[in-house]
């Protein structure tokens, strides 16, 4: 299998798993604050991944975590598309217009802000300015998504405008003009749809991955991400932070023989609930990796 199709397959698998898990989350609604069993249990038939330090089922929390990023992530993609694509197309198609210069300046200013700083500052202002933060907790993720989308717009618009500009000067576009095709048809059909589709799809993948990263980072850090007790891969990880040393001591093998390493891992999983550390980490790495693979696939098919 060629590498190119490999990245497409990997990306497609990861994305379909994410979609599947998100759909599954619709059916496994439980009270996120309610403990179901003893804390820090190893995997068993009752709790496939064990329980966390408050005795909540880890698998259920892992599944429910997809609620934190799936729909807000798509919202971010939608916002970036609605703002970035028209902006990029217009800048590339009318490179000499005065409005283009203004738009470029605006994009440069927005693009100069570090993404995380922008997000933290604005979410902080948002949380201070609303009267009852708890009531707005659900909306907070959408504010987060909006900010990530806005911080992503310069990148999308910039790349798209460069692509549109090269095609705008291509001879086949001149030919289409000479034959009397209207501008809108040239722009939408011949430039955007036929020649920039993959570029936009690639940017969508990158944006979604970027939102996932920002959401889990902020949830891990605390105040600005998903408010506990609602789960997120980020805050599951931060909840079991204190476990790290304990798990490490359990996992330390008596010798480097393979069976001793296996034994150490088994101890860490069964007695130290190492899965509470491993599962969210793996989930984040695999999801982002899959999205990047998909982005790479689009990049290699003329993105």
């Amino acid at each position: 299998m060629r590498l190119r199709s490999l990245s497409a397959v990997l990306g497609a698998i990861v994305v379909s798993i994410l979609v599947g898990v998100r759909l599954l989350a619709l059916f496994v609604h439980v009270d996120p604050a309610e403990p179901t069993d003893a804390p820090l249990l190893g995997p068993s038939s009752a709790h496939l991944l064990g329980t966390d330090q408050l005795g909540r089922d880890l698998l259920v929390r892992m599944i429910e975590s997809t609620e934190a990023f799936a729909v807000p992530g798509l919202f971010a993609v939608l916002v970036a598309l609605l703002v970035g694509v028209p902006l990029g197309a217009a800048i590339g198609f009318w490179p000499r217009a005065k409005a283009t210069a203004v738009a470029r300046l605006g994009l440069t200013i927005v693009g100069a802000w570090p993404r995380l700083v922008l997000v933290v500052v604005v979410v902080a202002i948002f949380m201070v300015s609303v009267s009852d933060p708890a009531e707005w907790a659900g909306l907070r993720l959408y504010v987060l998504a909006l900010l990530v989308a806005i911080s992503f717009v310069p990148q999308l618009a910039q790349e798209l405008s460069e692509r549109v500009l090269t095609f705008q000067r291509a001879q086949f576009v001149e030919a289409a003009r000479a034959h009397g095709l209207p501008d809108h048809r040239i722009l939408f059909v011949h430039i955007l749809w036929a020649n920039c589709r993959e570029l936009v799809l690639r940017q969508c993948c990158l944006l979604f991955a970027s939102f996932l990263l920002v959401e889990t980072s902020l949830s891990y850090l605390g105040d600005y991400g998903v408010p506990p007790p609602r789960p997120s891969w980020g805050n599951i990880l931060s909840d079991v932070r204190s476990q790290v040393i304990h798990v490490r001591s359990l996992a330390r093998p008596d010798s480097w023989a393979p069976w001793d390493i296996a034994l150490g891992l088994e101890r860490a999983i069964n007695e130290g609930a190492a899965l509470a550390l491993l599962a969210p980490t793996l989930a984040i790495v695999v999801s982002i990796g899959g999205l990047l693979a998909l982005a790479r696939h689009f990049a290699e098919t003329r993105g």
Binding site: F172, E174, A175, R177, A178, H179, V189, A194
Partner: protein
Amino acid sequence: MSTPLLRVENLSVGVTDPLDGQEVVVVDDVSFSLGRGEVVALVGESGSGKTVLMRSLLGITSAKPGVMQGRATAWTEEGEAALAPRRPGRRRSLTTVRPGWAGYVFQHPLEALDPYQTVGRQVADSVRVARPRASTAERRERAEHWLAQVALPNPRAVAELHPHELSGGMAQRVAVAVALATEPRFLVADEPTTGLDWSVRREVLDLLARLQDEQGLTLLLITHDFAVVRHMADRVLVLYQGRLVEDGPRSAFFEPGPGEHPYSRELQARVLALEEGRPPPPSLRAPSGPAGASCPYVKRCARMAVGREHDQERCYSEVPPLVPFGDGHRVACFLSRR
């Protein structure tokens, strides 16, 4: 002349030089007219402004912004349409007569086709220009009709191909089909045979001649290839450094005589030398750019050695106007004699 189709009066086109930002006059005070159904060849050496002239008339914007001055009038089915720029720099073009009134076949057909759209869709897009109300199925059918018209075998299969899957000759035919599908009255072909081998060249020319005949097109061929001129043209326009130096019937162009322009003579002598494998006649390569108030050709002119004293002085002090030489023949040379 037959019914007029297009009259161009005193057209000048300036282009900004990308190297030093200076305005360069590429087309200088050109006037000519075309009759309906004529086949006209536009000849001249590289850089003489042939392509710029036709492109500015057709409103094909290049990367460099050009300034266009002068008047052009087109006669369409609906009546007369003046194409004078309202003020200098404001472009209007033949495409504003009606979309698709004029078609253009590009020099490099592969570059003139969208690489990521099938051939059929591109032809169908041109059909949309001519028939905005046609349904998708009608457009597809029409596109296949045009692909068949340009003598492509199995048009239905060709319609599904992408440009990179075509051979040079096929791509040129597709480019012609894309241009014809807008149902133009006026077709400009920019070196339609460059890069094609001799057999395909002949096929493309025969195709253009047949379509011109059937559709009643006015055809303007921009070409270096005198075989094309001899084979097809009714009339020849000669451009030298952006100025029209001769405009006459094909016979007047090819038959040597005292009436023709010395530059036309030189061009033919060069082609003939190439065909017969002789070394080319010696030439004084003219310095580029207009020579101020003199005949632009004066530094290369073979007649300067043999002309009359009185007239030779005028060659250095005045720009020769394009004057009628009888029977639709015009020459811009003080030394030409009836």
